[in-house]
């Protein structure tokens, strides 16, 4: 198969997922015999049969947040974002993990599946309901959603940790090199960020978890990496391709480079800043722009980095600093980095305000700033990404257990996975992870979040639980 043909088939795979989503969405409104549904089903049938002619069998599988067709991950573009999200959500709700087309299908096969799928929403055991009905078809089969086994996550967790610390170490090296007038390797920066991009694509929650840990000594370097990770993760939600995500990650990593010009006695001052000191702090965006433009020959990436270094403390409404004389429109990357920067700064303990905030509190403040200081559209994506209970949030559950949000839930935002650190009897426990979507035999949620608390207030070292 030549590459053009291959590209076409990848497009066909993408279209197939999109079409399946359209069929199911339409079927939520109309009966499968309705003309509108029948026409979208016919289109789906044609797509399946086109692909199956070469592949002989087609298995569409949901793994994590991605669909795979015959083991190839389907990359989707922005135009398909909503339909993909819908399908992921609906599959997860029903614990449906895969749909296999064993041979060419006809409209009746699809109708059978659609009916099973739609009616399963009212079943207590949705997957079983679908499986039971689909087994009547000779040409189709379904599989249950595979749960992430905790042990399987150990290796990725190790790799993610390594990537994170590599990035921090690289950032520290860059700053030191610039300070001592040495040459900085942009090739390395790209490599570091590419690895982060890969992890965000495959293990978003693990890398986001690394940003929640705020107990490190070297805030500046960790902050740069955290902002880079949060920006990449947001960029991924916005449908940016891998190359753009890398650019965004590099740009975000260098956003605070101007801070190296701030005297250490100001940067590390344990008390509040004076007006003069604030004056110095407020110059770091301009210093950042200058530092980047001196770093290397001008190219697209340097320009983007310089723009973001200059604009990251400007607000959406152009308030903030540095003060702008002539109105400009903030760059897209700047608006992303600004969100990530504010969030990480607010939830960290060594920023100018010196008062670290609980992640959910930071989000609620950012919510108030949305539309004035923050881009409302990007914030909408951001909050969808970190969830209302971001990783690292200290939560009291209805079961009188105290825990830390360990992993967000993209489908049920209020029901993340939580690591229990104090059990219902008030005893410290080693930490086990519970899923707040779990229900008891009466179809009631076993645990829900009762309240959130500030982990910083109690000096809870998140690293103990998240690493």
């Amino acid at each position: 198969m030549d590459s053009r043909e291959e590209t076409e088939r990848f497009k066909a795979a993408k279209d197939l997922v999109n079409q399946l989503s359209i069929v199911l969405r339409t079927s939520h409104i109309h009966d499968p015999n309705n003309v509108a549904v029948a026409s979208v089903i016919d289109k789906l049938v044609a797509m399946v049969n086109y692909l199956i002619s070469d592949e002989r069998i087609l298995c569409l599988e949901l793994r994590g947040e991605f669909f795979y067709l015959n083991d190839y991950r389907i990359r989707y573009s922005l135009e398909y974002l909503l339909n993909f999200d819908f399908l992921i959500r609906e599959f997860k709700k029903r614990e449906l993990g895969s749909v296999t087309f064993k041979d060419k299908v006809g409209p009746e096969d699809i109708k059978l599946f659609v009916r099973a799928f739609v009616s399963s929403a009212f079943s207590q055991t949705p997957y079983e309901a679908i499986e039971g009905k689909v087994s009547e078809s000779r040409n189709m089969a379904v599989g249950r959603l595979k749960k992430v086994v905790e042990d399987d996550a150990v290796e990725p967790r190790k790799m993610v940790k390594k990537t994170y610390f590599n990035a921090v170490s690289y950032t520290q090296g860059v700053i030191n090199k610039i300070k001592s007038g040495e040459k900085v390797s942009i090739r390395k920066a790209k490599r570091v960020v590419e690895t982060m991009v890969d992890h965000i694509i495959e293990e978003e929650q693990l890398l986001l978890g690394m940003t929640a840990i705020k107990e490190y000594d070297e805030y500046t370097y960790h902050h740069s990496v955290n902002v880079s990770i949060l920006s990449i993760a947001l960029g991924q939600r916005l449908g940016l391709n891998r190359k753009m995500l890398t650019e965004l990650g590099v740009v975000a990593m260098f956003h605070d480079i101007g801070k190296m010009e701030i005297p250490n006695e100001v940067l590390n001052k344990p008390t509040n800043f004076t007006d003069d000191e604030w004056g110095i702090i407020r110059r770091h965006p301009v210093w950042g722009l200058k530092a980047i433009l001196k770093l290397k020959k001008l190219d697209e990436l340097t320009i983007k980095s310089a723009i973001v270094a200059f604009e990251h403390h400007l607000n959406y409404d152009l308030s903030g600093y540095p003060k702008i004389v002539k109105a400009i429109e903030m760059d897209f990357f700047s608006r992303i980095v600004s969100l990530a920067d504010q969030y990480d700064a607010m939830t960290s303990s060594r920023v100018y305000s010196r008062v670290p905030m609980a992640p959910d509190k930071a989000l609620s403040i950012m919510m108030e700033r949305s539309g004035t200081q923050l881009d409302p559209l990007l914030f909408k994506f951001f909050i969808n990404m970190v969830g209302v209970y971001p990783i690292g949030t200290l939560v009291m559950l209805t079961t009188r257990e105290l825990g830390i949000v360990y992993e967000s839930n993209q489908v049920f935002a209020a029901r993340p996975r939580v690591m229990i650190i104090v059990d219902g009897s008030g005893s410290k426990v080693k930490g086990y992870v519970v899923d707040l979507t779990e229900k008891n035999e009466k179809d009631e949620f076993i645990r829900s979040i009762l309240k959130t608390m500030d982990p910083n207030k109690y000096r809870i070292n998140l690293a103990e639980y998240l690493l």
Binding site: M1, D2, S3, E6, L78, E79, L82, K162, T163, F165, N166, V168, S169, Y170, Q172, G173, R187, K188, K190, R191, Y216, G239, L240, R242, V286, L289, K290, L293, L298, E300, I303, K304, A306, I307, P322, I324, V325, K326, I328, D331, F332, L377, F381, I383, G387, V388, L402, A413, V422, K428, L450, K451, T452, M453, Y458, R459, I460, N461, A463, E464
Partner: protein
């Protein structure tokens, strides 16, 4: 040695060769195509035995199934080291490997990674390609400057273990404190959100250089003079970048904005001085040479935009523009540069005139044309030195220019040119005299006609003289023509009739009806030429034909 091992060795050996060939030849070259086809064939043959080929990479050697398939202890031309130094430790080719993927793979490995221009290493380029059938394993430790960093950071974190008392205090407080969480309210994304996002992304794909210069201008407006020197250098780099991309509009807008800033009352002298420096950088040789490349690339550039850019430049741009003028291949590009020099030349005629010493005739001719278009009489002194240029095309151009500019020394030069051995030069000089249209120019022309030797000129040249003379239309000339028309000769009568016919022709062109009575006398003359030209002149005078 097994057959498959032999095939793997063949494949690895071919890497080195193909790497070189792809670097040397263009993609449509038969050697390039054959090499790739053979490489692809080798892989296909291997996949007959196995579904994938995995090469383990060490510093100086490569292994396949624990068998060494490559070894090179030298640093130079070491394929293994080439992969190893960027962290590649394993390279796997899968059965579905397409010709195009293989070509992309070789295109990447044939790049010059020692070049500073290349910002990507081999792994980044593989990563960006996102191959379906080429997989690799990398060792990320090569990215870290400090291999112990992770271990140290972890040790530090362990020291900060959460105290049990604090944890239990949190637990107790959880029951005491009033705060109860509000229900989560994530706003679902709508189609409208996606539309807005698409617009944002579309806008984001535009060139960022204009944004950068906007920010540099902001810094200029708001920062201290300590920043000015840096800004000059940044703007200089920005101009190179912008011009290289053919973004003339941004370059023009930037210069315009800088000038506006410099003209503002509140702008201090130091800032103005630096703006002038930036303008000089915009017209520097580096920038103009890049502009030349863009102009010659066939990129369509709007003349108005180009003019907007050039008009803001300073006279330092003249020399580089003259330099590229001789190097440009496209006519359109040369025309734009000529227009640029016409605009800029007014700022420094002396520098522009230096171009007249260029060794290339076409550059000299273009400079003469530019000086003529500028119309500054100061150029005459320089042009006069070019009158004796060895190339006829240059001579013609300079004579034309002198004719348009006039001024001291010009008439003498033109008079000399009327005696030039080349008819084209004589003709150009004659037209130039006509252009000057002064009394002295007329006198020179009339004197030339009166000379004995004039009779011996070819009829067409004689006619040209009289055509030129007709421009003066004064009585002096009228009398001169009447005299010539009447003039009889016993010797070389045919030649004399030519001169008389030309005089008749000229009287017709002059439009003076007083000449009709005399012309009527010759309309039936025995000489055919005189008869015809007299008749033509009469028609012209009577009917304006």
């Amino acid at each position: 040695m097994s057959e498959e091992l032999r095939k793997v060795k063949d494949i690895v050996q071919s890497f080195q060769k193909s790497k070189k060939i792809l670097r040397m030849y263009p993609a449509n070259n038969p050697i390039y195509l054959t090499t790739l086809e053979n490489d692809h064939k080798r892989f296909k043959e291997f996949f007959y035995y196995r579904d994938e080929l995995t090469l383990k990479i060490r510093q100086n050697e490569m292994f396949f199934d624990a068998e060494q398939v490559y070894f090179n202890p030298d640093k130079d031309d070491n394929l293994s080291l080439f992969f190893f130094k960027d962290g590649l430790r394993e390279l796997t080719f899968r059965k579905g490997l397409s010709y195009e993927e293989l070509e992309d793979f070789f295109k990447i490995i044939s790049l010059d990674f020692n070049s500073e221009v290349l910002d990507d290493d081999i792994v980044t380029l593989f990563w960006e390609k996102d191959f379906q059938n080429i997989h690799y394993v990398v060792d990320e430790t090569v990215l870290s400057d400090d291999e112990e960093y992770e271990a140290r950071a972890m040790q530090e974190l362990e020291k900060k273990e959460t105290e049990e008392d604090n944890l239990l205090k949190a637990y107790e407080d959880a029951f005491r404190e009033e705060e109860v969480t509000k229900e989560a309210s994530i706003v679902p994304l709508s189609d409208k959100d996606l539309q807005l996002l698409l617009k944002d992304l579309e806008k984001d794909s535009q060139d960022k250089a204009s944004k950068l210069v906007d920010l540099l201008l902001e810094v200029f407006r708001t920062q201290s003079p300590n920043d000015y020197d840096d800004l000059v250098s940044f703007f200089g780099n920005a101009f190179e970048y912008i011009i290289q991309r053919g973004n003339i509009q941004t370059a023009a807008q930037t210069l315009s904005a800088l000038k506006q800033f410099a003209e503002q009352k509140q702008t201090d002298e130091e800032a103005r001085r630096h703006v002038r420096k930036i303008v000089l950088m915009a017209g520097s040789e580096a920038v103009i040479m890049l502009l030349g490349e863009v102009l010659d690339s066939g990129l369509e550039i709007e003349e108005k935009l180009f003019e907007d850019f050039v008009k803001h430049l300073d006279k330092n741009a003249i020399v580089p523009f003259m330099k590229i003028l001789g190097e440009l291949k496209s006519i359109h590009a040369r025309k734009l540069v000529i227009d640029a020099l016409i605009l800029l030349g007014t700022k420094d005629i002396v520098t522009l005139a230096r171009g007249l010493n260029d060794s290339r005739w076409y550059v000299v001719r273009n400079i003469i044309y530019i000086l003529r278009k500028i119309g500054d009489k100061r150029a005459v002194d320089y042009l006069l030195k070019t009158v004796r240029h060895g190339d006829i095309r240059v001579k013609k151009e300079v004579i034309r220019a002198l004719g348009e500019l006039g001024g001291g020394g010009v008439l003498q030069a033109l008079r000399e040119c009327l005696d030039d051995a080349d008819g084209q030069v004589r003709s150009a000089a004659l037209k130039a005299l006509g252009n000057i249209s002064s009394e002295a120019a007329k006198r020179i022309t009339m004197n030339k006609v009166s000379e004995k030797e004039f009779r011996d000129k070819e009829f067409e040249e004689k006619k040209e003289y009289f055509e030129v003379l007709s421009r003066w239309k004064d009585n002096d000339l009228y009398e001169f023509l009447m005299g010539t028309l009447k003039k009889k000769s016993f010797f070389r009568r045919a030649r004399n009739y030519e001169s008389r016919a030309c005089a008749a022709y000229c009287l017709g062109l002059m439009g003076n009806k007083d000449a009709l009575s005399l012309l009527n006398k010759y309309k039936n003359d025995g000489n055919k030429l005189l008869r015809e030209y007299a008749a033509t002149a009469i028609r012209r005078l009577e009917h304006g034909q």
